[in-house]
């Protein structure tokens, strides 16, 4: 459905468009002015979105968030991404929601904190660090120049990565 929007096939309330990215008003938004920002290319989840497209999507989302503050006189905005079905994703096209907020608007993006003991926290920390090392995120600090940061920063991606993405893709209908 979203690819159809991207192809201008159906009526949409488009508010922004460039080569890579499209932003559309949600007709059944949680609040007036609820927008979603999507890549024009089809990717189900964030891990599949190339870095240049992803950086662009979020800077567009930020611009829209500023525009919402300026024009709609709201008290806040949420940027919300649901990645995968357990996270509440309903459409298999990656999207960033920008939601204008006012007090008592019936939206709940809060959570109850879970109590983890020190040991559990340490286990999680170690597991994460191990994977982060594998993914090679930390190498960018050496290669990345601040000026090139916006669209060109690349996280090294191995072949194994592609398989992993493909596996992830199959999880979403």
């Amino acid at each position: 459905m979203l690819c159809q929007i991207a192809a201008n096939a159906i009526l949409s309330y488009k508010i922004y468009e460039d080569d890579l990215t499209l932003a559309v008003l949600d007709v059944n938004g949680a609040n007036p002015g609820h927008c979603f920002v999507i890549p024009k290319n089809h990717y189900p989840i964030i891990e599949q979105v190339p870095n240049d497209e992803l950086a662009n999507i979020f800077s567009v989302a930020n611009k829209i968030s500023s525009a919402i503050f300026e024009t709609l006189k709201v008290q806040g905005t949420n940027i919300f991404v649901a990645n995968g079905i357990p996270a509440g994703q309903t459409v298999a096209h990656f999207m960033v929601n920008v939601i204008p907020r006012k007090e008592g608007d019936g939206i709940n993006l809060q959570w109850k904190p879970k109590q983890l003991n020190e040991e559990e926290m340490s286990t999680v920390e170690l597991k994460l660090k191990d994977q982060i090392k594998n993914i090679g995120v930390s190498t960018i600090e050496k290669t990345k120049q601040p000026k090139e940061m916006p669209e060109k920063a690349e996280f090294p991606i191995t072949d194994d990565e592609d398989d992993y993405f493909n596996r992830q893709m199959r999880r979403i209908p």
Partner: protein, 248 residues
């Protein structure tokens, strides 16, 4: 909370003091009050999972789920609209990589990325941060994003206002721009249906021209805004709230 412990006079005095600060002093003041700036400076302990020269990612001590990560810029910003585009891009590239890592490491099936700008949006800390929450089925997190129905007219109005603010108004947008509701003049009585269009177009143009002027002043303000954050509409309140909250 913090505000209630201060008397009204104290708050007023504080607001006065804040008003008189120079932008540099203000920034220092905010940093001093900000627990996350202390964490970034290494003065407060945390479980760091990733860091580079712009960004630090730590485990949330009150996680929504195990592996809940906070990704924050080293620079102190209260809300996202204050952050330069390239930095925003970088923050979310890191978020993506960390989401990828948590999917692998924690045997979860998804993740939520949540940003709250402003207290009404659920922001609690005064330092901008991205929440990355690993998700599993039935993990007892229930976000509620209701669906509301808006009239065609309302949607068009919002679309018009937002595209104007974004500078993305196209011919198509202009065509469907809402007709300003102005009481019709007597002339219209004589006018035929065709002619009715003319005044509409004219009015539209005038409105647009006015808005253009308004926008330019906006742009100017924006520049100033970086220095004098308190000057500009919506953000101002947030900054003030953040400052008062931090000033306990």
């Amino acid at each position: 909370m913090a505000q209630q412990q201060l008397s009204e006079e104290q708050i007023k005095a504080l607001q006065e003091k804040i008003k008189r600060m120079s932008p540099e002093e203000l920034k220092e003041f905010q940093k001093k009050q900000c627990i996350f700036c202390q964490i970034i400076a290494g003065k407060v302990q945390s479980r760091k999972v990733y860091e580079d020269e712009h960004v630090l990612a730590i485990l949330d001590v009150n996680p929504a789920n195990p592996g809940h990560i906070l990704i924050m810029p080293r620079e102190h910003y209260s809300i996202m609209p204050q952050i330069p585009s390239d930095e925003v891009g970088h923050i979310f590239l890191v978020t993506k990589a960390l989401s990828n890592a948590s999917l692998r490491a924690l045997e979860v099936q998804g993740s939520n990325i949540v940003v709250a700008n402003g207290v009404a949006a659920g922001q609690r800390a005064q330092h901008f941060m991205v929440h990355l929450i690993p998700r599993k089925d039935n993990d007892d997190i229930n976000f509620q994003i209701p669906q509301k129905t808006l009239s065609e007219e309302e949607l068009q109005k919002i679309k018009y206002a937002l595209s104007e603010s974004l500078g993305t108004k196209t011919e198509e947008t202009e065509k469907i721009a809402p007709v300003p509701i102005v009481p019709r003049e007597k002339k219209v009585v004589e006018a035929e249906v065709k002619e009715e269009k003319k005044p509409t177009v004219k009015k539209n143009r005038i409105v647009k021209a006015k808005k253009r002027v308004k926008k330019e002043t906006h742009k100017h303000k924006k520049k100033e805004h970086k220095i004098h954050k308190e000057e500009h509409g919506g953000h101002a309140d947030l900054d003030d709230i953040a400052r008062v909250l931090g000033a306990k």
